[in-house]
């Protein structure tokens, strides 16, 4: 009964719903990415997303949660005290969402740990070797995601102690996944026969994915308030506002520069807006969210349509261009627009008289970029040496679905 007294049941209900919303984002991401690849590879992308949901769900319970949020060791990593959820019970934790069961906080965080490695998939689609992919993801989740989550979110994590603001994971999730994606494709190389831009095989599928990402993102951001409170409402409104602003911005840029508005442009833009508002969502006003969305639309458009072409790296579905750049825009914008009038547990940014916050956000961004770049480089090299990261050229031409999985996504006759 003592436990029950500490629990607020409105908070419990909201966080549980939010957890389910974040969970659906990974299968949804599968649709978003699946629609954008060639049809001979659609199932490979869906499988990669779904198996991450299975694998990380287990990793998190066994040791991932303990590494990320377990009792702090020097600000760098969580201890192993919480292995197998030992000591993680129904009583609320003092710091982590202190009005809901500790296990609920654990599974809410699990869904973030799941979607982050899944985001990277978009960069290496259509050529990755499944066994190499699987080993890389397990190592990456354990040695890159878990420590970084600890630094930024855990009690006494060193970036948290500096005062970095990351409401729902701009640094830990989007910068981290985006930078890893870039390093990964620089090492992996381009797809075969992709000199000319290829049209996505099923845009409606991709739009279905983008639409449900927007939906799930309410859980992602507003759920990160950890309670059914007014900060959650702010995050909810900001999420919607930034997505709308960035989708619209992308369409206008498309229209001005390429002379036509496009569906894929709007879908990409809205995701960029969702990415950028993530770290800021619980700290800024709706009008700031509008500006952040516009900035995300402009910078991500620039990187996806100009910079990628200029440098010629094959970040196939623009994980770096959307999540990496959108994440950086969001992290820095948080240092500009954050205000205590929205969330007194946060801080003020540059525009509210606290330039120091921008410096902290900048520092955090640089640390995240450096850490995920170096670690991805090392892990890639190790897995490439042990298992290999690429399929045979011939298999790549025939398609991963048939050669790696002995399945096909679509039939020509019944």
């Amino acid at each position: 009964m003592v436990i029950m007294d500490k629990i607020n049941f409105a908070d419990l209900t909201w966080v549980m719903i939010a957890t389910a919303l974040v969970m659906i984002m990974t299968p949804t991401l599968a649709f978003f990415y699946g629609g954008l690849v060639r049809k001979k590879n659609v199932l490979s992308v869906l499988l990669q997303c779904l198996i991450i949901l299975c694998v990380i769900s287990i990793q998190w319970i066994l040791f991932g949660y303990s590494l990320a949020f377990g009792p702090d060791k020097g600000g760098v990593i969580g201890g192993l005290e919480w292995l197998g959820l030992n000591g993680v019970g129904m009583a609320p934790h003092d710091t982590y969402m202190n009005t809901v069961p500790h296990q609920l906080f654990m599974i809410f965080q699990m869904m973030f740990a799941v979607i982050t490695p899944a985001l990277i998939i978009g960069s290496f689609v259509e050529r990755i070797k499944f066994s190499g992919f699987l080993l890389f993801i397990i190592l990456w989740a354990t040695l890159v995601y878990d420590p970084l989550a600890h630094w930024v979110w855990a009690k006494d994590g060193w970036l948290m102690s500096l005062g970095a603001l990351d409401f729902a994971g701009g640094t830990v999730i989007h910068i981290n996944a985006g930078i890893s994606a870039l390093i990964f494709v620089l090492l992996l190389g381009k797809r075969q026969g992709i000199e000319h831009p290829r049209s996505p095989h099923n845009l409606p599928l991709a739009v279905l994915g983008a639409g449900f990402l927007w939906f799930g993102w309410f859980g992602f951001n507003a759920g990160s308030a950890g309670a059914a409170n007014i900060v959650a409402v702010s995050a909810f409104i900001n999420t919607n506002t930034a997505a709308a602003a960035a989708g619209l911005t992308w369409m206008i840029l498309d229209w001005l520069i390429n002379k036509v508005p496009t569906m894929l442009g709007v879908a990409t833009g809205l995701v960029a807006g969702l990415v950028a508002i993530t770290p800021a969502s619980g700290y800024v006003t709706p009008l700031s969210a509008l500006v952040i969305g516009i900035l995300a639309g402009i910078f991500c458009f620039l990187f996806v349509s100009k910079v990628k072409e200029q440098f010629g790296y094959d970040d196939s579905l623009d994980v770096f261009g959307v999540h990496g750049i959108g994440g950086i825009v969001g992290a820095l914008a948080t240092g500009l627009f954050a205000t205590k009038t929205i969330n007194d547990a946060g801080n003020n940014g540059l525009f509210y008289g606290n330039p120091h916050q921008l410096w902290i956000q900048f520092l955090t961004t640089i640390v995240a970029i450096a850490f995920s770049a170096i670690m991805t480089f090392i892990l890639f090299k190790i897995v490439d040496m042990i298992i290999g990261m690429r399929v045979d050229i011939k298999d790549e031409y025939i398609g991963l679905d048939l050669t790696q999985q002995h399945e096909t996504g679509y039939t020509l006759y019944d």
């Binding site: 026969g193 031409y397 399945e407 020509l412």
Partner: protein, 113 residues
């Protein structure tokens, strides 16, 4: 006049089209087909059950040409689609009786041009 039908690997279509462009042969109809040769197709697995003899995805090219363009067409297709492997495909050459351009009602070689 000849009617050239070629069955090739899907990922070779782009290379074949580039070769055809080089030979200044711009008319083509492409369709996606399923087929198999002596390898008897591929095996797929659904819920643990193997399905033997599933057909492979192929691309079918159809090109109507005047006689002097026949050799360049064959050259372009073999050049673009050939890997020296089983499954590279086949080219069939048929005599073409007539060709009519719907817009003008022209017949024969001129209509193809």
């Amino acid at each position: 006049m000849k009617y050239v039908v070629a069955i090739i690997k899907p990922h070779k279509l782009e290379a074949v089209m580039q070769e055809l462009d080089k030979e200044e042969i711009y008319l083509r109809t492409v369709s996606e087909v399923l087929g198999c040769g002596r390898q008897k197709g591929v095996t797929e697995v659904y819920r643990g059950v193997k399905e033997v003899g599933n057909l492979l995805r192929k691309v079918k090219l159809e090109i109507a040409v005047n006689d002097k363009f026949l050799e360049p067409t064959i050259r372009a297709i073999t050049g673009g689609a050939g890997e020296g492997e089983i499954g590279d495909g086949k080219i069939f050459v048929l005599d073409l009786k007539d060709c009519i351009r719907i817009r003008t009602g022209e017949h024969g070689g001129e209509a193809i041009g």
